[in-house]
């Protein structure tokens, strides 16, 4: 009886003014920073996109910027390149970490430990990009060095319009490793499921297909969304490795936004392009959510 009474007091307390006051004190720094550096620039973007940004005044020009961008061949090209890159990158590299994580669980405990430590030794991202650019170097790079010593004709790698996009994806393909998140998920699957499947004579592939993958499905769905968003925002790799070349086959949307805004000072157009980009990403997320639901029904 006493416990019950205490509980009700506590419940009252969580709703009480006193705790609420502390909640706001705890929350205020985050709310202020989120407002100023999160929501404020985003809402400004939706105003800027309808303005013509000039030196003295910035008159509203309606949909002028959007029309300009839709009819712009470079913007179309950039969108096509970006979608192509995202499709290529996700198609080639998204499943690898899942597969490797599943395979890794077959090793002995201490082997898993050693491998994980070696795998997650990090390199700063710019250092990695520059290193790969050096690998691809036509005259002095490692790849052409290997090709020559094996007696093959050398390739032009990043300078080859047909190969350039693939070269940007290749690091993710070659440096394959397990995803930490996937390992965590696999480890949380109860072992009894596998044991009972074994009693019924399930093969290895059946176990993967019917037990492991369904259990990993929510996390895979989430990682896929993150991968789509992340890959569409590709900027650093082409910006550093190819500068958008050769023949602009690696010119991405974010690069175009960047160039418009900070090389051409066409701030209105750049923002309009960013807004269009935002709607494309939103559309993709909605489609993905519809066809790849996160909830599982086992």
């Amino acid at each position: 009886m006493k416990r019950l009474k205490e509980k009700s007091i506590v419940k009252e307390k969580r709703g009480s003014k006193f705790i609420q006051r502390w909640a706001w004190i705890f929350g205020t720094p985050a709310i202020i920073t989120q407002l100023i550096f999160g929501w404020f620039p985003i809402s400004v973007a939706f105003v800027l996109a309808f303005q013509k940004y000039q030196f003295r005044t910035s008159p509203f020009v309606g949909l002028y910027n959007f029309k300009l961008m839709i009819n712009n061949p470079i913007a179309t090209l950039a969108f096509r390149n970006t979608l192509y890159y995202a499709a290529l990158s996700i198609g080639l590299t998204f499943l690898l970490p899942i597969l490797i994580a599943i395979l890794l669980m077959e090793m002995k405990k201490n082997v898993i430990r050693v491998m994980m430590i070696l795998w997650f030794i990090p390199v700063a991202s710019m250092a990695g990009i520059v290193l790969w650019k050096y690998f691809y170097n036509v005259q002095y790079g490692l790849f052409n060095g290997i090709l020559t010593s094996l007696g093959f004709p050398t390739s032009r790698w990043l300078n080859d319009p047909h190969l350039a996009m693939f070269c940007l994806v290749l690091p993710g393909l070659i440096m394959f490793g397990p995803g930490l998140v996937y390992i965590a998920t696999i480890q949380s699957i109860p072992a009894e499921l596998y044991e009972s499947a074994e009693l019924e004579g399930a093969s290895v592939w059946q176990k993967i297909w019917h037990i492991t993958l369904p259990r990993m499905r929510p996390i895979i769905a989430m990682m896929l969304i993150l991968a789509v968003i992340g890959n569409l925002q590709i900027f650093e790799q082409p910006y550093v490795m190819t500068k958008g070349g050769p023949n602009m086959v690696t010119y991405s949307v974010v690069m175009y936004v960047f160039d418009l805004a900070f090389s051409g000072m066409k701030l209105g157009r750049a923002t309009a392009l960013a807004v269009m980009f935002f709607f494309v990403i939103m559309a993709l997320i909605i489609i993905q959510r519809r066809y790849f639901r996160e909830n599982i029904d086992i």
Partner: protein, 331 residues
């Protein structure tokens, strides 16, 4: 262990399968470590050996000549105007400040969302806090730049105070560390991580402390903080990596050479060395550099210097990282 049963492991077919899996995994590890190793051996090659074709796998005469860039420069030239430690210091200041501001702010709101707000406000605040997660950051690229130019007005010119000729007070953050630090003072993903972790702490614990008359800050400091080391380690490591690898934003808001972080410096340095077509530029300044023995090996030295802090952080947080992620996943 779960897929292939212990009993069957003696069979020949199963053993071949296991052997193949092991080989694939070790190949992955080797391919992962190879670039690091290559970066290192290139950084200790003398410059004439860097251009030997085909490349050698171990330097014939290892030299640490490039690492002297860290402390001084023999000649002044347009890109690397200062010794490398200046840029390392810039990166360290920015990253340190971002961690010091972002982690407490997001931890507090994560805790408040998980355990303190009442039902009425919780939903609204939560959406307010993580709503920006799905919006591409490029949308706030231009507005963010304008805001930094004369804070807090995202316009070309600071407007006048109505009915007067006096301009509103504003502050120019461009070309200061704050231009990089302030926009990173909040991170929606961290809030999600923190809230997910705090949700796992039973509410009874906190209510019991409340009944004992503990104040809210002391509950957070004495009960919650000691329990949440793993999540703080995970968030600290992610925050560090993001801040350290930050490239596009410093490139936009910082134009002063002495304030560049290492990532921007490395980009400009490699830009200087190689044209976009991947060939060595043969201008006067590059020639002088090469005479000093700095070429691709210098570039790789910068890469090693940039990677060392990340590696140290990894060593510090390794144990906590493995357990912290195991605890909650990313939900």
């Amino acid at each position: 262990m779960p897929l292939i049963s212990e009993v069957g492991r003696k069979q020949r077919r199963v053993r071949i399968l296991l052997g193949v899996i092991t080989a694939i995994l070790w190949l992955g590890v080797a391919l992962h470590l190879f670039p690091v190793w290559w970066m290192f051996i290139t950084s200790i090659k003398p410059s004439r050996e860097v251009f030997v074709f085909p490349p050698t796998l171990w330097p014939k005469e290892p030299t640490f000549i490039c690492y002297k860039m860290f402390f001084y420069l023999a000649q002044t030239w347009t890109v690397l105007q200062y010794p490398v430690y200046v840029y390392l210091k810039n990166s360290a200041i920015m990253t340190g400040a971002i961690m010091a501001i972002q982690i407490p702010i997001t931890a507090l709101i994560g805790y408040a969302l998980s355990k303190m707000y009442n039902v009425k406000w919780n939903r609204i605040i939560f959406l307010f806090c993580i709503g920006t997660l799905m919006i591409p950051t490029q949308l706030s690229l231009v507005p963010g730049y304008l805001i930094m130019r004369h804070f807090p007005f995202p316009t070309m010119h600071v407007p006048n105070i109505p009915f007067t000729n006096v301009k509103f007070p504003s502050y120019r953050f461009l070309d200061t560390y704050w231009a990089v630090i302030l926009p990173a003072s909040y991170n929606a993903f961290n809030v999600l991580l923190f809230k997910g972790f705090f949700d796992g702490i039973p509410g009874e614990l906190i209510n019991a402390a409340r009944l004992d008359g503990a104040s809210e800050p002391s509950i957070f400091a004495r009960i919650i903080l000691p329990m949440s080391k793993p999540i703080f380690a995970v968030v600290a490591y992610f925050t560090f990596q993001t801040a350290w690898n930050n490239f596009m934003w410093p490139l936009i808001v910082i134009q002063k050479n002495e304030l560049y972080p290492l990532s921007v410096m490395m980009y400009r340095f490699q830009n200087y060395m190689t044209s976009s077509r991947g060939l060595i530029v043969t201008n006067e300044a590059t020639k002088r550099l090469l005479e000093q023995g700095i070429g691709f090996n210098g570039l790789m030295t910068l890469g090693i210097i940039e990677s060392i802090p990340v590696f140290i952080m990894f060593l510090i947080f390794r144990e906590q990282l493995m357990t912290g992620i195991k605890l909650r996943g990313f939900k």
